[in-house]
């Protein structure tokens, strides 16, 4: 893995989709009035005949996508994560998930990565999609995984929800990294704490693990890009090898990664204390910038460190997170 600050890429998803579509004529691209924002202006430019403007009409778009999939097409449907999940939930359930059709729902702008306020912040999209039978739910961490997720989901027989960061995407993994839909990855090995992270919180988890390591707390970091179906074997072995399990997600603590890990640990009778880092059953707010929200809603490196420090009952103040010196064209966790 690289070290922060990470270099960033623009439109890794959009390029990967174009590449896949060059090989696969059955791939269609639908956009809900957010074409450039979801990187599929690239698809529209190269395959205008396979690009469909759904307009601002998500319910209609999802039901149509289901019918397109019934006819042998593989529709990739694009909008922000909020509008992809809350608004057309019933249509996704009945037209896509229940008939188990290969529609790929791509929701950009996860959690509080947008300062646009509660109407634009997808804090429950993972929970909603995870609750639907047949749905695969993916929350990737970086540009390498973003590029790989597109071909990885191409041939799944059922529906998939992928949540993707918008804009500048950090490159965290090396070129040899392989995203697998059936596997969570232990990216750092440790003995005291098993820290499970998905999506944008992987960077914060890695930074926290490093700081805590320096203070004598050994933290393993497990990247969980696929929240459903969860790789329960890796989750259980990592949790079993630690005194404390912690989850970190840019999402509500209800229904997402934290819930999935809690259910798995509890059902196995493992009995590890658990802390869930995420939005504490609250809507967030609009702001000038996203880093402010990551700080305010407990998603910072410092918050991860403090959560682990206090859960372990360590004396004294938690070690400080290093100030991120991040230049233009770079990404560091908040």
């Amino acid at each position: 893995m690289r070290e922060p600050p990470y270099p960033v890429e623009l439109k890794p998803y959009g390029r990967a989709l174009v590449e896949l579509a060059r090989r696969r004529g059955e791939i269609l691209c639908l956009s809900g009035d957010l074409t450039r924002q979801t990187e599929v202006d690239l698809f529209q430019a190269e395959f205008p005949e396979r690009f469909i403007h759904g307009g601002m009409a998500e319910a209609n778009m999802m039901s149509m996508a289901g019918a397109l999939a019934r006819c042998g097409f593989v529709p990739f449907v694009h909008t922000f994560g909020v509008f992809a999940t809350r608004r057309p939930f019933d249509q996704i359930a009945n037209a896509i998930a229940y008939p188990n059709l290969p529609v790929r729902i791509i929701g950009f702008m996860p959690g509080v990565s947008t300062p646009g306020g509660p109407s634009h912040q997808a804090i429950d999209d993972v929970a909603l999609m995870r609750a639907l039978p047949n749905m695969t739910v993916v929350d990737v961490a970086d540009a390498v995984e973003t590029r790989q997720v597109v071909p990885a989901i191409a041939d799944l027989p059922g529906p998939v929800y992928v949540r993707l960061k918008r804009g500048e995407i950090p490159v965290m993994f090396g070129p040899d990294h392989e995203l697998r839909l059936d596997r969570a990855d232990v990216v750092v090995a440790g003995t005291d704490v098993a820290l499970f992270a998905s999506g944008m919180m992987l960077a914060a988890a890695l930074a926290a693990s490093q700081v805590l390591g320096g203070a004598g707390v050994s933290v393993s970091v497990i990247n969980v890009p696929v929240i459903k179906p969860l790789d329960s074997a890796t989750v259980l072995s990592a949790a079993a090898g630690a005194r404390l399990a912690v989850t970190a997600e840019n999402h509500s603590v209800i229904g997402g990664l934290g819930s999935a890990v809690a259910e798995t640990i509890a059902e196995a009778g493992l009995g590890r204390p658990l802390r869930r880092i995420g939005l504490r059953d609250t809507f967030a707010e609009g702001s000038l910038d996203a880093p402010y929200l990551f700080g305010r809603y407990g998603l910072s490196v410092a918050a991860v460190i403090e959560t682990i420090w206090s859960a372990l009952g360590r004396p004294g103040p938690a070690p400080l997170a290093p100030a991120a010196a991040t230049g233009s064209g770079e990404y560091s966790p908040v």
Partner: protein, 272 residues
């Protein structure tokens, strides 16, 4: 504060001047960030001014369906001395760039589009239950007409003869992906509302006198009313470059200065 709170008071001596001041205020609100929903303010300035000139303070309601338009009601309320907008769009401010539940001034707004007309119908029902004759002035954007919920609300309001409901439909032909008519054919807009059982006026949305007259005559008669306001997201600000994106305008310092100069000049000319 909300405009419908009992005891709220303001006067609008000249709606034309208020429209200009909304534009100037909106430029000053957006300038510190260097970007924002200025196009929505430019497009709706006359509609907002006409609503504030027509609404009875402390009685009538304002619904701002597209949360991205909240800049207009905020600017108007600040110009009328009803709120202090300091901190607009900054971290921690209740004056968020996209309207939320914390947003003052209006009775309802939502950044998830296409939901405001249903809220307006709910207010109209509540007012009917309570015996109130408040009017509900409801800002809706043409892009929102792509959402099916708007038409569900339109059907409901006409069926239930919610004639205190008055929609100002900002037909600026602008949405994120480009001109609305390049994404979805909405026309004939007026005929659609008429077919849904609404009283319709189709008018120049930058003619503030025409808007005031239409608003004054709108409520009542057993049908909800809609004013189809033909507008542009660039109206009244000539210094905007031709490539400015109507949904989200970038306003670097030099352009902000030019915009303030232009609008200040217009205001002085109007007052002279």
């Amino acid at each position: 504060m909300r405009v419908s709170d009992p005891g709220t008071a303001w006067t609008v001596p000249d709606p034309r001047e208020l429209a200009l001041r909304i534009r100037l205020r909106a430029v000053r609100m957006v300038a510190p960030q260097g970007f924002g929903y200025l196009g929505q303010a430019l497009s709706s300035a006359e509609q907002v001014a006409a609503v504030f000139a027509t609404a009875r303070p402390g009685v009538d309601r304002i619904v701002c369906s597209p949360g991205h338009y909240i800049i207009g009601p905020f600017a108007a309320a600040a110009e009328l001395g009803l709120i202090d907008l300091s901190g607009y769009a900054q971290n921690g401010s209740v004056f968020e760039a996209i309207g939320t539940e914390r947003s003052p001034v209006v009775d309802y707004t939502c950044g998830s589009l296409g939901q405001g007309l249903s809220a307006a119908a709910g207010f109209a029902l509540a007012d009917r239950f309570r015996g109130s004759a408040a009017r509900i002035f409801t800002m809706v954007s043409d892009g929102e007409l792509e959402e099916g919920q708007v038409w569900e609300a339109a059907l409901f309001a006409a069926h239930h003869r919610l004639d205190r409901l008055v929609v100002l439909l900002d037909a600026n032909n602008s949405q994120v992906d480009g001109p609305v008519d390049s994404i979805t054919t909405l026309e004939p807009i007026a005929a659609k509302w008429s077919a849904f059982g609404w009283r319709v006026s189709d008018l120049d949305g930058h003619d503030v006198s025409g808007l005031c007259a239409a608003l004054g005559a709108a409520a009542g008669g057993g049908q909800p009313s809609v004013l189809v306001c033909r507008t542009s997201t660039r109206h009244g600000l000539d210094c905007l470059p031709p490539e400015a994106d109507g949904h989200f305008i970038k306003l670097p310092p030099a352009l902000a200065d030019a915009a303030v100069r232009e609008l200040t000049g217009r205001l002085e000319a109007l007052r002279a």
